[in-house]
Symmetry: C2
DNA sequence: TTGAAAGCGTTACCAA
DNA sequence: TTGGTAACGCTTTCAA
């Protein structure tokens, strides 16, 4: 009574081949300890011989897990998606899970319905949320109501009472500012962004100045939007100042690149007349001249950690305890755009 | 005999509520035409009232479809992943499918096993392959053996007898070269890459030169690797020529940016002394100064088309017929890096 | 340590 | 046009 050839083997085929019950095969596949070594070996042999792999849909229908992890994002930079995803897929593979990616519709029509629909259909074992979604109250509430474990990547301060993984933005910014200070700069401008991360970075920048007894000059702190153009505008304002800065710290690379462009247009030498540092180590940071001094976010590592937390149970939604927060180490990357101020001007 | 509260409603609950059999509910959910309008309305009402959504695992276990589309990639640029994925998730949502993303292990240990394992577990309704995987014979053979429909994105010429979607690289390159020629350039260098796309782009470049009766000078065609550094090296070689080119066409943006950097280092004005064009419209292309003239690949559109082909049955693996190939329109983006040659040199 | 049998929620075949 | 009922391939009680 062989199955029709071509059809993949099932647990029944394996059980028959190994001369055990399907339950025992199930135990072996799930690495349950209560199986005799000999039995286990026999089953594994049969599994290998038949090239058997359990089918996900059957497993998740019968059991409690879906073996699926969801990654939700909305309009992030390409580098961010790619980085996070690289880590998430890797983490999933190691855990025998699979990554389902959903990018939320542009026109946020009923975001809640979109998510509910996804949760109901997929029943993911957990969700990973990236900025700005990880700070969206509607989304967080929907997830909470569905009792789906989730981990936030770089949420704004507080983390909304949910488990999260992040890097120390303030510390990294402080290190970057310290670098500029140690090069001899005293007039260091800061271009802000419009997301939570920007505030943390600015805090680090100010901390470094104060620690070195340098004045935090409000005139040198200008707003931006994390976009290239806003960096251009900010730089234009700064260059027009009676006492322009000799160094410029942008809250992200895109704005730093905007400032760099504006400097080059105006014939301001970088790093000779002006040092520039950014944040994020975007692709472009190393593709311009001079290459940008910046900070690398450990995106892939953060996503891997998120998967781990999800599956280790660290992401259970227990009210009461403070949720776990993993802080991963960053890396300051020094390139050509930062140097000591020109002699005649410092 | 109510179900315990909190548990999501099942098809049985809906059937009871609507006073029909579960099979009828199933028919309505699957939009089968053989249901009376009144019955359909009653069922839909019950579905809405209970907020019912079919569970994927049960559907795929019982039926023939998994409602899953797989996206396989390996070490692509961030922009490429992000673009393709955006389109793929959108296409999936419209088709009621979900996108499972797998990034192949770095150390290509037994790629075949990785894929087989994924196919066996997930039984995806179709797979989307991106370069360079879509040209890997082992992978293609594995997929074919598993009878999994798949669509290749930008495969090398021939398309391996499988359905594919692409843009017209040669035509785009020809347009770009024509642009340079129309600006007055006659000595146009070409930096090659090491993937199939590079050859198509070079073909377009040569076609444009020949059409304008310009000489294709082998000395002006230098190899590269699609990496930034190889653009630097290539530019260095070209600049050292007795008669350096007045325009430079790089097979992708990264190499164009490398050339731009080298030009700036040597004090060669761009676009004044040297026009530079790239290919891909990477993020960085618009983040440098001068911004790069380049070609935008319709990545998201290509991925959407791939999903459509997969689900419309256009991607069936029929031996015999020529497989479908969808060619999507590209966009030449003219920015600051291209201009007419300086008077004294042309 | 092992197994028998009862689900899991849906689709699909065959009757009515 | 509808409905019963048997799969689908696995996990999970509960016994042995």
């Amino acid at each position: 009574m062989n199955k029709r050839a071509g059809a993949p083997p099932t647990i029944i085929d394996v059980a028959r081949q190994a001369g055990v019950s399907i339950k025992t095969v199930s135990r072996v596949m799930n690495k349950e300890p209560t199986v005799h070594a000999d039995t286990r070996a026999r089953v594994q042999e049969a599994v290998a011989a038949l090239n058997y792999r359990p089918q996900l849909s059957a497993r998740s229908l019968a059991g409690a897990k879906s073996f699926l992890i969801g990654l939700l994002y909305y309009d992030p930079s390409a580098a961010f998606v790619a980085g996070v995803q690289q880590g998430a897929t890797l983490g999933c593979r190691e855990a025998g899970r699979h990554l389902v990616v959903e990018s939320l519709q542009e026109n946020g029509v009923d975001v809640q319905a979109q998510i509910e629909s996804m949760l109901a259909a997929l029943r993911p074992d957990g969700m990973i949320l990236t900025p700005p979604l990880c700070d969206d109250p509607v989304i967080l509430e929907t997830l909470r109501a569905n009792r789906t474990p989730c981990v936030l990547i770089s949420p704004s301060d507080g983390g909304h009472g949910l488990p999260s993984v992040c890097m120390d933005d303030a510390l990294a910014a402080e290190e970057l500012a310290n670098l500029l200070i140690s090069l001899g700069h005293t007039a260091i401008a800061f271009i802000e962004g419009n997301q939570a991360a920007s505030q943390r970075r600015r805090a680090g920048y100010e901390r470094a100045l104060k620690a070195h007894r340098l004045r935090v000059d409000p005139a040198l702190i200008v707003p931006g939007t994390f976009q290239f153009e806003s960096g251009v505008d900010a730089a234009r304002k700064l260059f027009a100042l009676p006492h322009p800065p000799t160094a410029l710290f942008a809250a992200n690379d895109f704005m730093a690149l905007g400032a760099l462009t504006e400097a080059q247009r105006q014939g301001i030498a970088v790093p000779g007349d002006l040092a520039i540092v950014g944040f994020d180590d975007s692709d472009a940071a190393s593709l311009v001249w001079p290459a940008l001094t910046t900070v690398r976010q450990p995106l892939a590592e953060m996503a891997m950690a998120a998967v781990e937390m999800l599956l280790s149970g660290a992401a259970r939604i227990d009210e009461g305890d403070a949720p776990p927060v993993r802080v991963l180490p960053h890396e300051v990357i020094v390139r050509g755009s930062s140097a000591a101020p020109a002699k005649g001007r410092a």
